[in-house]
Symmetry: C2
Subunit: 154 residues, 2 copies
């Protein structure tokens, strides 16, 4: 997602207005790696700007998504999550706590895909499942290192 100042320009360039509500959401989303739900953003925003409407949060998030400034994540169990990180990346979701974490995968292009059946694949979204570091330590398991393959873990 662009920085707040640039978003302001981008909104005006599209004929959209930049309201205090939107500016607040811009800053709340900027560099936000928590993959917030609408409710979570609404809760935070409400503290800083009491009276802001849930409807407005939805509206602004939809606008940002339509402009390609946010990724929309449909994780299991109800509500949509939003990801302002638009760099090519993927996610690791903890089986226990549900936490979503950004990860980076370099060699996706090399995957051999069978049964495409004429499908022209242009993008890939990967969600890894397993246990996050915090939930592992709660279960007294050994720690892992970074930059490993799935295979290493078996």
């Amino acid at each position: 997602m662009l920085a707040p100042a640039e978003l302001t320009r981008a909104f005006r360039a599209r004929g959209l207005k930049v309201t205090p509500q939107r500016q607040l959401l811009f800053t709340l989303l900027h560099d936000n790696e928590t993959h917030p739900t609408v409710e979570a953003l609404f809760a935070t925003a409400s503290k800083l700007m009491p009276g802001i409407s849930l409807r407005t949060v939805y509206q602004t998030l939809n606008d940002l998504a339509a402009m390609g400034e946010l990724q929309v994540l449909q994780s299991a169990g109800g509500s949509t999550r939003f990801d302002p990180n638009m760099a090519e990346h993927h996610h690791a979701q903890c089986d226990r706590c549900g936490e979503l974490h950004d990860v980076y995968v370099d060699d996706i292009d090399r995957l051999q895909v069978r049964n495409l059946d004429g499908f022209q694949a242009e993008r890939a979204r990967i969600v890894f499942g397993g246990l996050c570091a915090a939930c592992q330590s709660k279960s007294n398991k050994k720690k892992t290192t970074e930059n490993t393959t799935l295979k290493d873990r078996r």
Copy 2:
């Protein structure tokens, strides 16, 4: 998903009863590659067994999912889809028509994942985005071949 006869055993083994409604759903799901929604299954089931309740379809699908006989897919835009294919596989979803297609990827283990930050990855779910064969031909594009990499397509 197991075959209907085996599901019958598995249900009874768990103290669950095998009703005509459930048997019907077992057969409707068996080898079903359409990734049906609850509504779609309900529509088909209703033709064969008028009066079957939508609630029963939900119930049975939830049971099957809890038993690990179905994968639950949260694709964008509303309703959940169910996939009785429990072999390790992934999906290709068409940007235009939304169609979901099973694909197989062999070398996931070799992916280099950065920023795992202690996350212990045990599974990966990949959804490829792009255009399905049907939607490509509607846009007069050239055809693709099978068994290719993302890279080949660029």
